[in-house]
C-alpha cells in the first residue's frame, strides 16, 4: 500500500471504528453495572453483557493498536510526534491500563464502562487536533525522546483513569452524605423520606458485607448499607428491592444536577478556553468550547445517573489512589528522561521552558494529592478534590504549552 492509502486506513481505523467500539463497549458495560442490583435473571443478563462489553473493548483496543501501527507505517516513524498522536496514545494507554487493572487485578470489571467512556472522550477530543501523517524533525527523532514522551503520555492516560475514579468517588460520596444528612434530619422528625433509611438500617445487619470498616473519613455508616446495592442480593424479597430502589433514587438525588453541571462546565472551561485561543476565528473557537462543555456535562450527568450502582466510596478512593500513584511514578521517570534528552539535544537539562514548567507543575500537583492522601486530616474528599485539580493542571499545562506559549519542544501546530 502507498503511504496515502495507509494514511486513509489509519484514519478509518481511528474514527469511526475505534471510537464506535469504545462507545459501544462503554454503554454495554454501563448497562451491566445497573444489573448488579437486580434479580437473578437480570444478573445473568448482566454477566453476559459484561462479556459482550469486554469483547467490544478488546476489539476497540485491537483497532486502536492497528491504527497506531498503520499510522506509524504511513509516515515511517514512531507515531508520537504531534498533539493528535499524543492524545491518541494517551487514550490507548488509559483504556488498556484501566481495562486490565479493573478486569484482572482489581476484579471490578463492572466499572469498565467509565474507563471506556473516558477513553472515547479523549479519542474524540484528539480529533480536534487531527493532523495528517508526516515526518518528524530530525532533532526530535531520538530514542531519548521516544522514551520520555511515551512515559509521559502513558502517565497522562493513567492520570485520566485516576481522574475518572476520583470523580466517581466524589459523586458517590456526595450522594451518600446527602442521604446521611437526610437521615439525621429524619431523626429530628422533619423529613418523610427518612423512614425508609431507618428500615434499611435495620436490615443492614443481615447483609453487611464490606466497606463499613474501611476506616475512611468519607465512609459514613451508610457505607455498608450502600454497598449492598452492588453485592449480589439473591435472596432479597420484593419489599427489600423496593426499598433499595428508593435508596438508590435518594443517592442519585443527593447529587444536585445543577451544581454538577455548573461545576463540570467551570472545570472544563478552565482547560478548554485554550481551544478558543488557538482557533482561527472566535466563532469557531467558541463553538468548540460549547461542544466540549456540552459533552463533558453530558458525561458527568450520565455518571451521576450511575451513582447508586457504584461500589463503596472506599473502593473508589483506593482505585483512584493506586492509579495515580502509578502514574506519578511514570511521570517522575518520564520527566527525568526528558531532562536527560534536553541535556543531550540542547545542552541544558532544564530551562523552565513552558513544557518543562508544565511537567513540574503537574508533578507538584500530584505530589500534593499523594501527600493529602497520606495525611489523616486531609483524606477522602479533600484529597480527591486535589486529585481532580491536579488533572485540570495536567490538561491545562498540556494545552497551554502546546497552543499558547510554544517553546523549544514545539511539535504543536503541525
Amino acid at each position: 500500500m502507498t503511504p496515502d492509502q495507509l494514511a486513509d486506513l489509519s484514519r478509518v481505523l481511528y474514527s469511526p471504528t475505534t471510537l464506535v467500539l469504545y462507545l459501544a463497549s462503554a454503554f454495554v458495560y454501563l448497562y451491566a453495572l445497573t444489573t448488579t442490583v437486580g434479580r437473578r435473571e437480570e444478573q445473568e443478563r448482566g454477566r453476559r453483557a459484561q462479556k459482550l462489553g469486554a469483547a467490544l473493548a478488546v476489539a476497540g483496543i485491537g483497532t486502536h493498536v492497528a491504527h497506531e501501527i498503520v499510522r506509524g507505517l504511513a509516515q515511517s516513524r514512531f507515531p508520537l510526534g504531534n498533539m493528535f498522536e499524543v492524545s491518541s496514545l494517551m487514550a490507548l494507554v488509559g483504556v488498556v491500563v484501566g481495562f486490565v487493572y479493573l478486569t484482572f487485578i482489581r476484579k471490578r470489571a463492572e466499572l469498565n464502562g467509565f474507563v471506556l467512556l473516558g477513553g472515547a472522550l479523549v479519542l474524540a477530543s484528539a480529533l480536534l487536533m487531527y493532523s495528517e501523517p508526516g515526518p518528524l524533525m530530525p532533532i526530535l527523532d531520538t530514542w531519548w525522546r521516544h522514551f520520555h514522551v511515551s512515559l509521559l503520555v502513558g502517565a497522562m492516560g493513567i492520570f485520566a483513569a485516576g481522574f475518572v475514579f476520583n470523580g466517581l468517588y466524589l459523586l458517590r460520596d456526595t450522594g451518600e452524605r446527602a442521604v446521611a444528612r437526610r437521615r439525621e434530619q429524619g431523626m429530628h422528625g422533619s423529613t418523610v423520606g427518612a423512614a425508609y433509611v431507618g428500615d434499611l438500617e435495620a436490615a443492614d445487619g443481615e447483609h453487611a458485607t464490606d466497606g463499613a470498616s474501611a476506616g475512611l473519613e468519607g465512609a459514613t455508616p451508610s457505607g455498608a448499607l450502600a454497598d449492598r446495592t452492588t453485592d449480589t442480593l439473591e435472596d432479597v424479597g420484593d419489599d427489600d428491592r423496593d426499598h433499595d430502589a428508593e435508596y438508590r433514587a435518594a443517592l442519585r438525588a443527593g447529587v444536585s444536577p445543577w451544581k454538577l453541571a455548573i461545576g463540570t462546565a467551570i472545570g472544563t472551561s478552565s482547560v478548554a478556553w485554550v481551544f478558543v485561543y488557538a482557533a482561527d476565528s472566535l466563532g469557531e473557537g467558541l463553538g468548540r468550547l460549547v461542544i466540549i462543555n456540552l459533552v463533558m456535562v453530558a458525561a458527568a450527568s450520565l455518571a451521576r445517573w450511575f451513582v447508586p450502582f457504584l461500589p463503596s466510596t472506599a473502593t473508589m478512593d483506593g482505585l483512584a489512589h493506586r492509579t495515580i500513584a502509578f502514574g506519578f511514578l511514570m511521570w517522575t521517570v518520564g520527566t527525568i528522561a526528558g531532562a536527560m534528552w534536553a541535556e543531550q539535544s540542547w545542552g541544558r537539562f532544564w530551562g523552565w521552558d513552558p513544557k518543562e514548567t508544565g511537567a513540574f507543575l503537574t508533578w507538584i500537583a500530584y505530589a500534593g494529592y499523594l501527600h493529602a492522601r497520606a495525611t489523616s486530616g486531609m483524606k477522602g474528599r479533600r484529597a480527591a478534590w486535589i486529585g481532580v485539580g491536579a488533572f485540570i493542571v495536567l490538561m491545562a499545562t498540556y494545552l497551554i504549552a502546546n497552543y499558547v506559549i510554544v517553546g523549544l519542544h514545539s511539535y504543536a501546530g503541525l
Binding site: P133, G134, P135, L136, M137, P138, I139, D141, T142, W144, T209, D210, S213, A214, G215, L216, A314, T315, D317, H321, R322, F326, F328, L329, T332, I336, A339, E343, Q344, S345, W346, G347, R348, F349, G351, W352, D353, P354, T357, G358, L361, I364, A365, A367, G368, H371, A372, R373, A374, T375, S376, G377, M378, V393, T397, I400, A401, I405, G407, L414
Partner: protein, 532 residues
Amino acid sequence: MGWRWLVRMKTALILLGILGVQTAIATAVPQEPNVPGTVEAWRSGEEGPGELVAAGLDAIGAFDVYGSAMFLALLLLLFLSLTACLIPRIRAWVRLVRRSRPPLTRSVGKQDLVSEFQTDRDPDDVHGEAARLLSDRHWRLRGHDGEDGPPAQVAAEKGLWSREGGSLLFHLSFYVLLAAIVFGQLLSFEGQVGVVEGDRGFTDTEVAYWNYHPGRWFGPEQHAGWQLRLQDFEVDWIRDPTAPGAGQPTTFRSDVTVTDADGEVIEATVEGNRPLNIEGTKIHQLDWGYAPRIVVEEGGEVVFDDFITTVALDRAGFRGAVKAPAATPDVGLDVFLYPFAPEGEPGDPPTLTGAPWDDDPVLIVSQYRGDLQLGLTQQTVVELDTDLLELEGGGFLRPGQQLTIEGVTISFPELRRWVGFQVSSRPQIPWLLLGSALLVAGLVPALYAYRRRLWVMATRTADGTRTLVRVSGRAFQRPDRFEQEHARIVAALAEATGELPEPTAPPPAASDPDDGTSEPATAGSHSEVIHR
C-alpha cells in the same frame, strides 16, 4: 508558627501549593532568561496585557520567577519544612531498623486475617517449616524466645523498613538535587559562538565567545584552549511542497576538527542529538545561518572584507549587517538574504520565495553612511542603529556581482554558512543523575512496599493428638492483596507439613482498599501485639 508549624504536613502542602502558583505564573508570563525579547515587548506594551500590568508583574518579579527573592524564600521554607519533617522520621526509622525484630503476639486468633489447619507434625517442626518458608519469601523473622511470655510462635514482618526507608530516600534525594543545582550554577560554564564554514574557526578562550555565562566559581584559566574549525556543514529539507512535512529540515550536521592544547587533532561530526565531548566540555550545534562574504571598497581602498553572519527571520529570508568603521564617515549595510530567489520577468525584481535552500541566492542591500555608534548603543551583530545614519541607496546582488552606490563599491564574491555552537561544561551532571536515581529508587518502595505482619503459631490440640496451626496476618496497606498472599502462604505451609488446609471462615474485614496510614490508627487497637 515556628518549628511545630514547619513540621506539619499541611504546611508542606501549602508550600507545595505556593510553589505550584509560582510555577503557574512562570508558565503564563514570559520569563526573561528564556525569552528576553518577549519580556521587553510586554514591558513596552507592544505585546501582552499592557504597560501598566507589566509594571505590576515586574514589581513582583513575575518576569523572572525562578530568580526572584520570593522563590528563594519559598525554596528555603520548603527545605526547612522538609528537614523539620525528616529529622524525626529518620530517628524513628533508625529505631525501627535497630529493633529489627517483628513483634510477638499473645493471641494469634485476634488478628485481621486468621487461617488454621491441623497436622500430625509436632509444633517445633511446624515452626521450623514456617521459618524456612517465610525466609524464602523474604520475610524478616523472629522465633519464639524463652519460656515465659507469649506462646511459641514464628513472627514475621515485611515492608516495614523499606516503605518508610524508600520514602525517606525519596525526600533525601531532594538535598542531593538541590546541592547539585546550586553548586552546578557556581561551577559550570556556558558560551555560544558562531563559526563560518572553512573559516579560521575559534579558540576556547574567554574573549572568543559571543555570549559568555560563566558560573561565579568558574575561572577563565579553566578553559582548555582547544581550537575548533568547521570543515563542512550540511543541511537539507523536504523540498517537495506537496509532501507531508514540506519545508521541514531533514539533515543538520557539522563536520568539525578540534585541535587540543597539545596539538592533537580530532575529527568529529556534531549533530542535533549528538554533541561532541572534549574532556568534559560539550559542544552542541544549536543554530545556523548563511554567511555571505562581503567586500566594501571606497576610493579603491578595501574598508571591509569578511563573512557576515545572517540569522533566519520569522517568515522568510535571513538578515545581517555590515559595519565598516574604517571608512569615513562609517559605512553601514543593512543586508537581507533570500537563498532561493529566481529571476522574475525581465525588468522585474527577483521572486523572493520563502524557501531556505540556496539554489538561487540574492542579497538586498541598503547602504547607510554616518555614525554607526559602535560601542555606544546596544545593538546586535545583525542590526544597525540607523539613528545617526543616512540612507544612500540600495540594490540587489547575486554571487559574484558588485554594486556601486555613491562611490562605495559592494561586492558579494561567495556564500557560505555558519553554525552556532554552544560550549558548556557542567560538572553537576553526574550528581544530578545520582540524585534522580535515588529519587526513583526511593519512590518505588515508598509506593509499592506494603507493610505486613504475620504470625504462625502451632500448638497441640486439646486432646493432644494433633497439632493446630494458626496463621494470622495483618496488612497496613492493600489488605485485599494480602488476603491472597496469606492464602498462598497457608497453602504452602500446609503442603510442607503434609496437610491440606481446611477452608477457613472469611476474614472479618475483607477487601478494604489500600489505606496509606492505617498504622498509627490501628496499632493502638491491636493491644495483643507485643512490642519488645
